[in-house]
């Protein structure tokens, strides 16, 4: 247990019907920390980060985000969702709204911001993800890499304290991966707290403060990138790294 943790999971257990997806997962993430989560498919990575903003509900243990415990209490969930932005593998942009409308919708309706004010801020974020000239297009008219950058900008417009990324680059063609990772690296440099499920080990090495390795619903090991890559403790990790670093 850490004093200044912004995200704290304590012995979190999660079942899908009878399937045990998370087993006693404990992790503590400090403000500004960048955590990369990796592990084989089906190991519960998505499940874990989706529990942090309660897209999935956990059944046992505690999840505390910025001092607020996640329970069935809708108010607590609302508060936490305002603090936590999320980027999905499949972008999940709203296809019936323009890029700019995608960005401004939540700030207007959830934060009650004035349209003109948030539009200005949204344009600023679009510049930062380097697609200001696409503001009035619809998501379906953009490439995958552009869509994912819009999705990042959309999350940022809510001024989150924490950003969750669930395999943000795995639905992208190889040549678009870099443009998205560049934006994420930049964001990391600005001190955002980030939890990122990814298999981009180059990114992990460069950006992560710590790497968490999961398998079968448990955290097998976690540590700094140097430790993790050079000197993995468990056999399972070595095996995984062997597979993933091959290509």
């Amino acid at each position: 247990m850490t004093e200044n943790a912004i995200i704290e999971l304590r012995k979190v257990g999660k079942w899908y019907n009878s399937y045990h997806a998370l087993r006693d997962v404990s992790i503590s993430i400090k403000k500004g920390e960048k955590v990369v989560v990796c592990g084989p498919s089906g190991s519960g990575k998505s499940t874990m980060i989706r529990c942090i903003n309660r897209l999935e509900a956990h059944q046992t243990g505690h999840i505390i985000v910025d001092g607020i415990e996640l329970t069935d209490d809708v108010k607590a969930v609302e508060k936490i969702r305002r603090k936590v932005g999320m980027v999905f593998q499949n972008f999940n942009l709203f296809p019936h709204l323009t890029v700019l409308q995608n960005l401004t919708l939540a700030p207007i309706w959830v934060r009650g911001m004035a349209k003109s004010e948030i539009e200005e801020i949204a344009m600023m974020y679009l510049k930062r993800v380097r697609i200001p000239d696409q503001a009035h297009k619809f998501p379906g008219q953009l490439s995958g890499g552009q869509q994912q950058r819009v999705a990042i900008a959309r999350a940022l417009c809510m001024r989150p304290e924490i950003m969750l990324f669930d395999e943000p680059t795995s639905a992208l063609d190889p040549e678009m991966v870099k443009e998205v990772l560049d934006v994420m690296t930049e964001l990391a440099g600005e001190g955002m707290t980030m939890v990122c499920v990814t298999h981009e080990m180059g990114f992990a090495r460069q950006v992560a403060d710590s790497i968490v390795f999961m398998a079968e619903g448990s955290i097998i090991e976690s540590g700094s990138p140097a430790e993790f890559f050079e000197n993995p403790k468990s056999e399972r990790t070595r095996q995984f790294l062997g597979q993933i670093l091959e290509h």
């Binding site: 999940n92 942009l93 709203f94 490439s143």
Partner: protein, 396 residues
């Protein structure tokens, strides 16, 4: 859901997709010139050069079976078209008395000329029939205007409020020097139009609530909605109308009466809502889970998520089945005859009971059918336009 393409294979119309720094100007120049020639479909020229004969050979006589089918169709047309044209138009009698009609070999359209007021306005007092005419004209004009995109402004709601008041004044009268006409004397087109439009207008929002309720996580709401929808879909409209007009008053306290027209409207509305709800539910189910999750992750509430994200997408998808239901509801208004209301079709039937014109009932029904067709066909065409508008940017 998303379409991906590498930047250098972007569709021609969209132009190059700028990633990172802007490309130098000479790129743009060469880029724009090139695809224009390359993008024309290759067979287009060859097709037009051959003209009709070539086309017919390629499409109608290309296999023995197609040749046989083509000849059979031509034969059928030869059998059907000339007699139909003769009856409908060439040998028809367009004016004059019923005697003149007896001489003619074709249709007797004079029956429409003579009876059109009865068909359109039923038993509404003859001298006052300009009032339902004006009301219908106003109503149809407003319906048309409401379909125009440029008019989708807040003032349209105000205009509708005024229209409805105006229609009420015209139809009932009793004010402004107009004589009072109770609504059991209304009939014909106004009844058909008002019943269908009002029942659809109320049923549509109701059906959205029912469809949402059917997916609710609260068991009580879900059970109610499922129960309602399945009950309504399980009985014929005729019996719903009977229930509404005969049984419903039995449940009301002594002395309270609900107008017959209103009862039929309620029956139609509930029935239509149940069917529409199923169409809407189809749309809700087509929305990917990711859309809900993205909305949740942004902190939108249930209603914000539903109104801003889910419904706009779901309703676009189900425009065709919804309009299908609208058309069906429009035609179903003709069933209100069984509770003693005079819709367009009933009024037409009444027109055929005149002994002098009785032999020409077919003409009257063709005419009534044409009236229904005009409205239904307009709805159908409008829905196609709406669909194109809705899906212009959202390629899935």
């Amino acid at each position: 859901m998303s379409k991906q393409f590498p930047a250098d294979q972007a569709p021609v119309s969209a132009g190059p997709i700028p990633t990172g720094p802007v490309p130098p100007a000479h790129w743009a120049a060469s880029y724009e010139e090139e695809p224009t020639q390359a993008s024309a479909p290759p067979q287009a020229n060859g097709m037009t050069a051959l003209k009709p004969f070539g086309w017919a050979k390629d499409n109608l006589f290309n296999t023995p079976l197609n040749t046989v089918l083509t000849l059979a169709c031509l034969g059928l047309l030869w059998l059907v078209v000339p007699p139909a044209a003769n009856w409908l138009l060439l040998k028809a009698s367009w004016s004059g008395s019923s005697e003149a009609c007896r001489e003619a070999a074709g249709a007797c359209w004079s029956v429409i000329v003579v009876k059109h007021r009865l068909i359109f306005f039923g038993t509404y007092p003859y001298d006052e029939q300009w009032r339902p005419f004006l009301a219908c004209a106003l109503f149809v004009a407003m319906l048309g205007a409401s379909g125009v995109r440029a008019f989708w402004r807040p003032w349209l709601a105000g205009a509708w409020a005024l229209t409805l008041v105006g229609m009420g004044v015209l139809m009932w009268g009793g004010v402004a020097g107009l004589s009072y006409v109770p609504n059991d004397r209304w009939g014909g087109l106004p009844i058909t139009l008002m019943l269908s439009v009002f029942s659809i207008a109320i049923a549509f929002p109701l059906s959205i609530l029912l469809a949402l309720g059917r997916q609710s996580s609260l068991p009580a709401i879900r059970t109610f909605c499922v129960g309602f929808i399945e009950t309504m879909r399980g009985v014929p409209l005729v019996s719903v109308l009977f229930m509404a007009s005969v049984m419903f008053p039995l449940f009301l306290p002594e002395g309270v009466t609900v107008d017959k027209l209103l009862r039929a409207l309620a029956g139609m509305t509930l029935f239509t809502a149940a069917y529409l709800a199923e169409a809407v539910r189809g749309g809700l189910q087509a929305i990917p889970k990711g859309q809900y999750e993205a909305a949740d992750a942004l902190g939108l509430s249930y209603w914000q998520k539903t109104v801003l994200i889910v419904l706009p997408q779901a309703l676009r998808i189900v425009i065709p089945p919804i309009v299908n239901q609208f058309i069906s509801a429009f035609k179903d208004t003709s069933l209100v005859t069984i509770v003693g209301l005079y819709d367009l079709l009933t009024a037409a039937t009444v027109a055929t009971t005149d002994p002098e014109w009785r032999p020409y009932f077919a003409e009257v029904y063709v005419f009534a059918g044409l009236m229904f067709w005009i409205f239904c066909f307009s709805m159908s065409r409008y829905s196609q336009w709406l669909e194109r508008l809705a899906n212009r940017y959202t390629r899935r």
